[in-house]
Every structure is written in C-alpha cells, then in structure tokens.
C-alpha cells in the first residue's frame, strides 16, 4: 500500500490578473521508505506540490483531486488535524537555510519545539533529545551547543539544524524542497549524503525536489519530471535515464552542461529548448509543451495527452514519445 498517493491534484491560484492554474491533474504514489525525486525548472509547480501535501498552500489557492496520506485525504482534513500531522508524520526541509531559522531563538529551543508541541515533553527531556538529534545530523556537542543562535552558524550548518528539526518526531515522510540549491557544491554533497543516510536509516520516505537532473540520478530510486504544472514523465530513476521518452526530459538533459560525461569538443553548442514556459494565466489547450516541442504534431494540440505506460515502472504524458536509448 502506498504511504502517499496524489490523484489528479489540481491547484489554481486567484491572482489580481485572474485565476492561474499552477498544478494540473498531478498524480503519483510513494511507498513507505521509498525515495522520489521531483525535477523541473522554476515555475513548473514542484514546490506547490510539496506545499499542497503539507497543507501550507497560500490562502488564495483552491485545490481539487485527492492527497491520500496513511489512508486519509489531506484535502478534507481541518486545520487542527493537519497540525497534528505536520512535523509529526510529515516533515519538511526548505531551500533557504539562512532565513529558515528564527534569528532570536536558540537552535536547541527550535529543535526541541516539535517534541514539546507534539509529545508534550518537558523542557529538560526535550532539550536532551535535541542534543542527540544535533549529534545525529553531524553537529556534535560541545562545539555546537544548543544555546547557539542561527547567526553563529554557516549555511550548511543551519541546514543541518533544519534537518534535525524535521527528524525530531521521527516522521514517516520527509519532503526536501531544493535543500542544497543555496549551498556551495561541497556542502551540497554533505547535506545530500546526510539526507540519504538519515532517511534510509529510519525507513523514512523521501520526496526530494530539485532542478538538477544529476542530483535526482544520485539520490532517488524513483523520479518525476514536471513541466508547467503537469507530470511529463515518471518512473524508476535508472529506467527513465536509460530511455528518456518525453521530448522535454531529453531537452533538459541536453541543455545541462554538466550532465554529459566527457568534455564537449571545443566550440560545440549546448542543445537549447527554444521559447519560454507558458504563462499560468493562459495555459494552451492541448499539451503544455507543444509550443516548444520538436516532435509536435496536429494531434498534440486539441487536448492534453493522457499518461501512457511504456514499460512497468515508466510512464510518459506524450503522444509521440522518443523510443530508443537516451543519447549519451
């Protein structure tokens, strides 16, 4: 049975310029202990998906569809029930470590706060468990005393504190929304390794959101490619990387300078995806990628393509997917 299952989740935002469709019939499952990578460029809706699962969408958002988590549809829960879930069963790590912590409260207090809120632990016991959590994320005592304030830590160290806060109540699902984008490449490697080790260690499901294909390849067993609020392609990571079917996924890989193993011969240009992401206020009728797709045909335009299962564990939302191996 899946821990988390999204069925046709659709989210529209009321903006001064009229309603904007941010997510359009997003569906996927995540089994307990599994890891799922969600990759896409800015504005594709990956963060919105995470916020929808957490029930932290902005007030102007209207949701349709289902988000089943441990056999409860989160969209039907009231605020009190959601509060009981957040931090306790689903935890989240955010992108900006520099602003994610309260500057006027000590790191010990902020790590222990989840424990005292959900389990009603006393100050002493909560602080003691906080020390263990800090140690577990690589911030050992006495160097990283709980009485330190966030401004005394580096970006990487602060992100470790945020991860410690997320692990406090031993949740079933950890959502990491671009946890390393704001960090240097060396700290990124350490944080990703920490997330992998922690979630594997305690059978915790992981939803890792990133814009970097290589990060998905390295860190998640399954993956999901999003474009303009829809799921373009999904499946087991190795499977998808081997036979990329959606034109956008291939375009993304070809445009990533680091993705290819060897160094491009001098002067050869990166493959580019022409045009721009469609404006959420006036989404095209048919396939959202049609405007930029090299394989577009007449049947792509009238209505959005349904999802087709190419092979067990690999589905694509495209009428003319690529057939063969991914060119390396």
């Amino acid at each position: 049975m899946s821990l988390l299952s999204l069925q046709d989740l659709t989210v529209t935002l009321d903006t001064p310029e009229g309603p904007a469709t941010v997510l359009d019939r997003v569906s996927f499952d995540l089994a307990p202990g599994e890891s799922l990578g969600i990759v896409g460029e800015s504005g594709c809706g990956k963060s919105m998906t995470a916020l929808a699962v957490m029930g932290l969408l902005p007030a102007a958002a209207r949701c349709r569809g289902r988000i089943d988590f441990e056999d409860q549809d989160l969209l039907t829960l009231d605020e009190r029930a959601l509060c009981a879930l957040r931090g306790r069963r689903i935890a989240m790590v955010f992108q900006e470590p520099m602003t994610a912590l309260n500057p006027v409260k000590t790191i010990g207090f902020q790590v222990a706060e989840g424990l005292r809120w959900h389990f009603g632990l006393g100050r002493g016991e909560a602080e003691a468990r906080a020390l263990k959590l800090l140690d577990r994320v690589g911030l050992p005592q006495p160097r990283f005393s709980p009485d330190l304030y966030p401004h005394q830590l580096s970006g990487g160290q602060r992100q470790r504190v945020v991860i410690a806060m997320a692990l406090a109540c031993d949740p079933a699902l950890l959502i990491a929304d671009e946890p390393t984008t704001a960090l240097d490449v060396t700290s990124q490697a350490e944080i990703l390794a920490l997330i992998a080790e922690v979630t594997a260690g305690s059978k915790m499901a992981l939803m890792l959101i990133t814009h970097d294909l290589a990060v998905v390849w390295q860190n998640t067993a399954a993956m999901l490619v999003m474009y303009a609020g829809t799921v373009a392609e999904r499946g087991a990571t190795a499977e998808v990387f081997a036979r990329m079917a959606h034109p956008y996924t291939r375009g993304l890989l070809a445009a990533s300078p680091g993705a290819l193993e060897d160094i491009l011969p001098a002067g050869r240009r990166l493959a580019t995806i022409p045009g721009q992401v469609p404006d959420p206020h006036d989404r095209p009728q048919g396939c959202v990628f049609a405007g930029r797709c090299p394989r577009v045909a007449d049947d792509c335009l009238p209505c959005p393509p349904g999802e087709r299962l190419l092979v067990p564990g690999h589905a694509v939302a495209c009428l003319h997917p690529h057939e063969g191996e991914t060119p390396s």
């Binding site: 955010f94 994610a100 309260n102 006027v104 706060e113 989840g114 304030y149 830590l153 580096s154």
Partner: protein, 318 residues
C-alpha cells in the same frame, strides 16, 4: 556587545554637548537684554550694570558657557529671574506632574496599540483589521489638542464627570490627582497609540511572511502558536525603536496638552518661560528635555540588544 553600547554612549554625549552649545548660542543671539527685562525699561544704567554683573552676564560668552555646563553637571541650574527660586526647585515641583502624565500616556498607548496591531495583522483584511486601520487613520488625523477639547466638552462640560483642567496636586490624595491627569493622558496617548498600532501591524505582517514562521507551521504549530512564539517576538524589535522615537513626540505633546488643561507641568513652564524671556529656565529645561529624549533612545538601544541576539555578538562557529 559592550562595544555597541560604548559607541552609543559616545554619540549620546556628543549629541548632548552639541545640543547644549546650540541652545547657549541661540540664547546669546536673542534680541533684548535679560537684565532690562527684569528691571523694566526705565531702570537706571548703574543698577542695570550691577544686576548684569551679579548675574555674570558681563563675563565673556565661553566662560559663561563653561560655568553653565559645570552647573548642569553639579545640578546647580542657577536661579530663575521671574520666579525667584532656583531652577532645580521649579523643575522638581513640576516634574511631579509631567513625568506621571508622560508615563500614563506611554503605558496607555502601548497597552492599547500593540495588541490591536497584532490582532489586525493576524486577521488581515477581515473586520478586525479594517476596524483597527480605521481607528488608526482617525487617531493620526485628529490633532491631540482638539481631541483634548472634545474630551473636555464631553466629560467636563456635558457629563461633568471629570474636571475641565487644573491639577489637584498629589497632596490632595492619589485618586483625585490621578483623575485630573486622566483626560490629558488619554489626549496625549491617542496619536501615539494610532501610530504604534500601525507600525506594529506592518511589522507583524512583515515577520508573518518570513521563512521561519513557515518553518514553525511545518513543524505542526498552529497559526496562533506560530504568530505568538515566532512572529510577534521578532516584530517587536522595530516596534521598540519607534517607541523610542515617540518619546520625543510625547514631550512636544505635553507642551500643548498642559496648556489645554492648564496643568502646571514642565511643558507649560517652558512655554511661559520662553514667553517671558526667562533665559536661565529656558536653557536648563530645553537641555533637560533633550537629555531625557537622548537617554530614552539610549535605553531603547539597550533593549534592542536584549531583544536581538545578533547584536550581542558571539563569534561564528568555525
């Protein structure tokens, strides 16, 4: 941390010194001769000269300035021409009214404004918010002396519940004296409360949008818990700064309000002293008020450092 305060102390002293210099110079430039004012226009030249010598007016300006400065430090503020008593006695007698009045106004405005500001921010664009914003718009627009007059019209003239003015004096008992200060305090507090409520509201709105409040919500805290445990604490920092600045507006307000209610306080004293060209009193009072404003702002900086650990220093963990 200590350094932060030393620097602030430094600027405080410099500001006071410059203020005293300016006040002294302004008084020097003043047309008209104090001695002539006291003895009247047709006084004889020699008595004028004698009085001037006695008041030390014949000595060079800088010497008198240093003497005056010395007096300020030792508390010997000199003798008032018009009242015949030492300035210190005058101040001591009047501060018994102005200080409690100012404190009542500050307490009233803070107790009223901060909760209203937080409420308005928490219920943004709902009824409570629109109500608070309406109240603050009016509060800022109404001149405090007109508001005072309206209060008198209502409570003293119409309902005759409170006195229209004058001060019963503390010896007439705590409550009767306090009653006479009630209307002036409310009149003084209104504009301050309106400004403070607006500042609190926008400051809380700002912090509610911060990432760490979203992190608190992601930890499972309810909207209310995240507001009080995380947003309000951070929002207080800019609010405290504004309160420091407001103290100087409050002093200005006392000058007018003490006139509207005929209260013998420092504000009224300084106004009358200026009108009567009583230089000694004017000089001392202006410096006293300026010093109190600067000291209050210094205390606000202290509170700032307490509220915000980033100012308390503490090195980076390498």
């Amino acid at each position: 941390m200590a350094l932060f305060l030393l620097q602030r102390l430094g600027t405080l002293l410099i500001t006071l010194l410059v203020a005293s210099l300016l006040v002294f110079l302004v008084m020097e430039v003043l047309p008209g001769d104090p001695a002539a004012i006291i003895l009247g226009v047709n006084a004889r030249a020699d008595t004028l000269a004698a009085l001037r010598a006695e008041m030390g007016l014949d000595r060079p300006a800088w010497e008198r300035y240093l003497l005056w400065l010395g007096g300020l430090v030792t508390g010997d503020l000199g003798r008032s021409y018009t009242y015949g008593v030492t300035v210190w006695e005058l101040v001591a007698e009047r501060i018994g009214l102005s200080l409690p009045l100012a404190l009542m106004a500050i307490v009233l405005s803070t107790v009223l404004a901060i909760p209203l500001g937080v409420l308005a921010a928490a219920r943004r664009n709902k009824a409570a918010d629109v109500g608070v914003m309406g109240f603050t718009q009016l509060g800022i627009a109404i001149p405090n002396f007109w508001f005072a007059i309206l209060l008198i019209l209502l409570f003293a003239v119409h309902w005759q519940v409170l006195p229209a003015g004058g001060f019963a004096g503390w010896d007439a008992g705590f409550w009767p004296a306090l009653k006479t200060l009630l209307l002036p305090a409310v009149a003084l507090a209104l504009p301050q409360a309106a400004i403070l409520a607006r500042v609190t509201r926008s400051s809380v709105l700002e912090t509610l949008g911060e990432d760490y409040v979203r992190t608190a919500r992601a930890k499972g805290l309810s909207r209310r818990a995240a507001l009080w445990h995380h947003a309000v604490r951070n929002a207080l920092i800019p609010v405290v700064t504004i309160m420091g600045l407001q103290f100087s507006f409050l002093l200005a307000g006392t000058i007018i309000i003490e006139n509207v209610f005929y209260l013998p306080g420092l504000g009224r004293l300084i106004f009358q002293a200026i009108a009567q060209r009583d230089l000694i009193v004017v000089k001392d009072l202006v410096i006293l008020l300026a010093a109190s404003v600067v000291v209050v702002n210094f205390l606000v900086d202290l509170l700032y450092a307490v509220l915000d650990p980033r100012l308390r220093g503490g090195g980076h963990v390498l």
